[in-house]
Structures are given as C-alpha cells and as structure tokens.
Symmetry: D2
Subunit: 258 residues, 4 copies
C-alpha cells in the first residue's frame, strides 16, 4: 500500500487514556470572554440571555453524550461530569475534551439568534477545555462545591462592583473600595446604598445552573391496569449543590453506575 | 478565603505540556460527518462548498493563532502545524486542542450561510482533535505527506465509487467492484467507462488544501525613494506538498523559528 | 550565574505526578531471571532461599518507606502498595519507582550471602518497575487477588512440570503433557504419579508472601498501673489475601489513611 | 481461565512511551548521599574511590544496554544517553528508568569491595531516576554542558569550602565566607591561602567523567595481507565535553543512528 512509507508518523501519537473507574470532569471556559462580552454589549454583572444561551448549549451537549450525568455552569464556564464507568472514546482525554468543547462552541453560534434575536453575532467564540479525574464521589462533590463557592464569591463581588459603577464610580475606584472587604460588608453595602437584598437576587445569578437527568414516573392506564415506567429528562435548574439535600433527593445521579 | 476548603481539587489536574522545541500538529476531524453530509445533501464524492467552508474556518484559526505556520486539509479533517519554538498556552496539549477545535467548529456554523446560502444548517457539528509532537522537519514533512497520500487514495477511490453509483450500481456492488484494485486500474476505469481523466480533476479534490503565510513584498514610493518591506498574507492554495518544490520556494515556513 | 545559559534544558522534563487520593502500586519484576536462576542453580520449581531473599529485600523497602502499607511477592516479582493519601516524592511516578526498585536491587546484593552463604553471586541483577493507580479499595483488592491467583496457577503448573522433568521427561515433553489441562487434573497427577498432595505444600509456594505492619499491643506495668500502647511491626506472612478474612482481621491496613 | 475475573486491573496501567526519534537521557541521583558519604567516611570534597565506583557501575550499565551511546557522571549522579532511534523496552519510560537505576544500584553493592577493600558497606544505597527527551543533537549537547558546568561550579565551591574547614573554620562560617563570591575570587583564595592551583586539580574532580564506545582499529596480518576492522570499546575518560573538540573527534557517538 502506497501509504505505508509515511504511516510510521502515527507512532508519535501518545496515548492519553484517563484512569478507569474515576469521575471525569471536562471543564470548558470562554476564551477572552471579557472582550466578547464588551463587543456584544452583555448586561453587567449578569446577562440573563447570555447565561440562558450557555445553559442551552450545555443541555445540547448532555443530550448528545449520554455518559454525562451532570453539568454545572456559571458565567462563561461549564463543567461536565462523565460517569465513572464510562468508556466513551475509550476515555481518551483529547477526544472527550475536543468533542465536548467543539459541540458546545458550535451550539453557541447555532443558538445565538434565539437568545439575542436583535443582536448580530460579531465573531465566533472559542473555549478552552481540560479533563480531570476524581477518584470518588466525595471529591467530585468537593469539585462541584468549589465551582459553586466561586460563583457566589464572584457574583457578590461583581454585584457590588457594578452597583458602584452604575452609581457613577470609575471601575478602578469601585475596585479599591471593595478590595479586602468581607461578605457581610458587601451584603450591607448592597442593602444600605443600593436597596438590594442580595439573597433575593435570582438563584441563576447567585448559584449558577446545573443540569441533570431527572427521573420521572410515567403512568399508562391500559384498561384497569396501570403500568408505571420511569424515564430521564434532561433538566436545567438552579439552587444549592453544596449541601446534601439535592444529592439525597436524586441519589441516582452519582449512583448510576453502581 | 472561603474558597480554600475546596480548592485542593485543583491538585487533581495533570500537567499535559508538550515537549519543547518540537513541531506540534493539531489534527481535527469531523465527528460523524458521514451522517452530517447526508443530512445536508453534500455533493459526492466532493462538495466544493463544504470544502471551501472547511478552508475558510481553517483560515480563521490561522489568522487568530499566529503561531500556526501551516495547515493542511482534506475532506472533513484539518491539520494545524504550530511552530517548534512556540510557547502558546505554555504548550499545554488540552488548551491548544480545545481552543483550535472550538474556534473551528464555531466558525463552521458562523460561516455556513456564506457557502450554503440556500441550505439551512440542521444541527451544530462537532469535531474531535488531538495534538502530536514531531521532533524535526523531515518527520513533520512525512506527516504532511501521509495526509496528502491519504487524500489521493481516498479521492481516487471515491471518484470511482460515486461514478459507479451514479451509473446505477448499488453502493455494495460498487465497493466490491473496486475492492483490491490498483491505482492504474481505477484511472483506466474512470477514463474508459466514464470519460474522466483523473489527473484533470481539480487539485482541490486530488491534493486537498494547504494554508500558509505567504511572504509578499510591499514597495512604497516616497518621492524618489522606494522602500520595500515584506509582510505575510494568510493564503489558501492547492498542490503537491510531498515533493521539495513547494518547500524550497517557501523556505521561511519551516525555517521561521531559526 | 554561569549556569543559566544551559538551564533551559530542565524545561524538557515532563511532570509525572500520579493522581492524588488513589492507591499506588509499584510492581517490580526480575529482569531475565530465568537466566539468573539457571546461573545460580536455583532449586526448581521453588527455591526457598531465593524466596526468602526476595522477602527480606521487600521488608527492607517497607521499613525504609513508611508510606508503603502492604506488599505482596511471588517468584521474582513484588508489589508495593502506597497509601492513598501519601504525598511521598510528590507522587512523582519515576521517583517512586526508581527509589523502590533501586533499593530492592541493592538490598538483593547486600543480603545475598545471608541466604546463599555458600554460593557466590555471579553478577548484579536488575529489576524493572512500574507504578499504577487504583481508585478504590475494592479495585486494589482485585489487583492483589490477580497476583495471588497468578501465583497459584503458575505454581501448580510448575510443580507438575518439574515433577515430570525430575522423573526423566524432557522439558518440551513435560510441557506438552500439561498443555490445556485443568486444575483438578494437575492435582490428581501430582497425587497419583508423584505422591504429592498439592494442598499440603508450603503456603510460601502456593500463596506467595505478604508483608504488612502488624499492630501489636504493648503492656507496660508501672507499679499497679498497666498502660497499653499499640505499635506496628513489619511482618512477613503467607496465606490467602483473596477472601475477606485477612482484611477483616487487619482493618487498619487499608483504612490507615481515613 | 480462572484469572480473567481480576485481569481487568491491568487496564489501569498507563502507557508511558517516550516520543520516538528523540534522545532519551536517564539521569540517576544518589538518594540521601550526604548521609551515605558521612556514614562511610568519604573523603571531602572528592573521594576518588567513590567516584571510581560510580564510574564502574555506569560502565556496567553501558556494557549491558548497548543502546546507551554516552554517559556522563559527577558526584553521586550519572546521566545515560540512549540513542534517538532506540526502541529499547518500546521506549517505555518506567522500564528504561527502572532497569538502569536498579542495575546501577545492584552494581554499586556488587563492586563496593573492589574500591573499598577495607570498608564494610553499612547499608544498601538507593538512587532516584527520571527520563527526559531531547529532540535534537544541539539540545542534547546543551544538556550535557549543563551538567558539566554544574560539576565545575559545585567542585570549585566545595574545594574552597573543605579547604576552609580543614583549616579550622566551622562549616557555617566557611559557607558564609564563600557566599556570593565569584569564580576568580575562589581561585585566588585557593591559590593564596591554600597553595592550590585549581586548574591543576585532577580532571576527574573538575570535569567529571564520561563514558563512550571508543572506535578502535584492529589490524590483522594474514600472510602478506593486512585486514582492518573497527570495533567499539566502552571507555571512561575525563575532559571537556562542552566545546566541539571532543565531539568532532568522535563524530560517530551522536551520529550512530544515521
């Protein structure tokens, strides 16, 4: 075969299989999204359309790749949790990352007009991605908590920052005013100066978004017999995922492989 | 800082830095593009609009990431050559692959309507990607030759296959007829049965496409003085890249880092 | 500093940190030990002195590296289990493997004369080694079971093989006679032809050796008061490690890090 | 086969193949050799017997593994250069490192009494090791230069340090006196205070040791005919390997694979 003379170059490919029986998290992040947000006039500190667009793209990824059992998103980042037992793409890191990130980016452009019907997309965005293994459920939960705590800290900070800016402060000035302040000081500032009760802001902003396959019961009546089957519906929601409540109510999410 | 309790999860990220001073090739491939081509009614064996769309996306990637010195594309795949000395994203494999593949995929959707003004994109495509290191110029050249030989073999085969199918054969039947045949047999078949001189088909089909930064001389007349400067223009072309001719005419492409 | 011009070469070192919070098993294997055994006239199928020498070396490794919680050895191989939470050598794979394997090999030569007082060591042996991560206790137990099942299968085979050879068969002939036979056939052959009750052979041969830190109670009488403290003593033993019994009796071995 | 139930654990082994067509350097380093040198009363700053023992072990490694084309040693470290085209152990990093480091360590104990006939080895030493790829000859040469410059800097410093200590200074005091001083100051100090001409010290101390396969011509007279053949003899030498001279005189060392 004519090809064989050059085919040795394939031997330079390095295997990048991820450790079996571990949770794989693929996290993607918008590249230069500060600029992207500016160019497209995103609302500050949170643009609800931009967040909904992110959520729709993540949902599309989950609907396509059924080994993803959970996803968590905030701002311009999204984390996808692939189940421990998955052998998708033989667990090759580059395959998993590239398929997810490209599907997400393509969906972003594809769905843009639904969320921004009056705004033209100026240029195609890019995202970076990486895959990380977590050996057990509790560490995976810590990973997700890490992202949600981050969401809270950033959102509280940005809510103050943009309140100050909208009230006339320069960005530098607003930043100095906030530097080193604690959570209770910021909440107090929002309430006293701007009449904002932080805890009443939408969960979408304060907690980010998560997506999971919700178990639903389907009852079918057939004469006098009622048969019940359960199915799973990809569902977007917002709320706390640090505490145990959510996970106890949906034990099948992490337990799926057992 | 409240975050610290969970931040230990960052330690599970594994470094994936590629070996310094080696050529890095990021190759991306359409995921399930057989189906994608069917759904969108791509012309067989080659859809010129689809190929031009691929080329436009690859050009956008090269214009964005200036450390890419060369790209070669065929069918639904593209290879991007990052220069040896590059320290882009600290040579982290997942960063390089994810940014390139997501930018490419987003561009594909973004530019779709230019190349298919009358066709609606049915769903966003995905691509997989990988990064491979090649330690020296001659092995890198062998890599590119490998892809171009592959292009030739596949295109010749597909040209025969689709000629037989268009002439009424079933796909299975056409495949059996071609199985195990040699290049000269196929050329003969194309000429005798279908009046096609294979070597006169467009280079775009037979050789694929390459993109490079073409050095151009700019002369500026300023009174009696003429000053010359050279600049580089991202250029798409088609032709042989296996022989030495192209590389001798453009020595600056691979020599850029020396 | 004069050194700096060349120090860039350090950047070619690739990080090889093993995933945190996973059991690390470093397995070492004698290199070309068939020849080594022949040259040194090892008893077949098992040389008790050679096995004891292996055990003493493994014990020395465990006494030196206190993050190793368990070791299992058979023939010319030994597996060392490093506890999940260990950060020894920052979990760098090459460091862990190289220190263990070199300490083992050096100990082998160092302790040779104790076990073979009348035999001169003809040349220094080498061992290869590798590190593998196991994400949870049950997979780690399966790893150890894998090695012990292997020990059993090989030992039963070799006991038959060498009985036949000692009875005058050629090696090839003995191998053909055993090819494809089942466990019960082999046991029967040993009993009927050679009067060997396989299950009464020493555990050292049938089960291999394991080493662990045995918890022992130390009572000290001080007048009328008796104070008890526990300490851990590196202990070599032989027996089943596939079933739960051993692990239930010594729950602190795998639970040590919790 | 009874084994199969557990054999899945093999899938947790991760491939660690080194990039083809690159120089592989395996560097090993004595573990806690400060203590080892103290316990065994090594001469300071250089113990000629200990250095010769290191060299003999490295030579044994090279004689065993013929894909090693060069080795460079200083103090308690040694670097082994495996030729670019080598496929030894399929270029698996852990195999290469473990076999080299264990053979070296075992040889150290094996050959101890030849170099220290009157000193008992108190305990077996260990070495750590790592493998690094270098894509071309000039970077490999820079690596070797890096080690030889390091040898020079350390040796000059230690020669001063131990001269001061032997003259009655405390170690701390001697270190402070040397801190931040330049090469010419140190040479001057050695000459003025201690009558030592640094450049006349043995090359073994100042330049370290290198080992290569020296090409030698063998002439055989057969009647009136003289036939010449060349063979390669593993040879230890000392001298500069930073400049071009050595490499020009022995072009076959790095060129061996072409």
């Amino acid at each position: 075969m004519a090809n064989s003379k050059y085919e040795y170059v394939k031997s330079f490919e390095v295997e990048d299989r991820l450790l079996p029986c571990t949770w794989v998290v693929v996290r993607i992040d918008g590249r230069s999204f500060h600029r992207f947000a500016d160019v497209h006039g995103f609302e500050k500190p949170n643009d609800i359309n931009a967040l909904n667009l992110m959520n729709e793209c993540a949902k599309a990824v989950m609907e396509d790749l059924t080994d993803i059992v959970f996803a968590y998103g905030v701002s311009d980042e999204y984390s996808f949790v692939i189940q421990k037992a998955s052998n998708l793409y033989k667990r090759r890191s580059s395959k998993l990352v590239s398929v997810i990130v490209s599907l997400f980016a393509a969906s972003y452009v594809f769905n843009w007009h639904t969320h921004f019907p009056d705004k033209k997309l100026q240029y195609p965005p890019a995202f970076d991605g990486r895959a990380v293994c977590y050996p057990d459920d509790s560490i995976l939960r810590d990973y997700l908590s890490w992202r949600q705590v981050d969401c809270h800290i950033n959102n509280q900070y940005n809510t103050c920052l943009w309140s100050l800016i909208k009230a006339g402060k320069s960005k530098d000035c607003a930043n100095s005013e906030l530097k080193g302040t604690r959570a209770d000081f910021k909440n107090e500032m929002l309430f006293t100066q701007f009449g904002i009760n932080y805890n009443e802001l939408p969960q979408l902003f304060r907690k980010g978004s998560y997506i999971y396959r919700k178990k639903v019961q389907n009852s079918t009546a057939n004469g006098t017999q009622i048969s019940r089957k359960s199915s799973f519906v990809v569902t977007i929601d917002h709320g706390d995922i640090i505490g145990d409540t959510f996970w106890k109510e949906h034990p099948y999410i992490l337990g799926a492989e057992e």
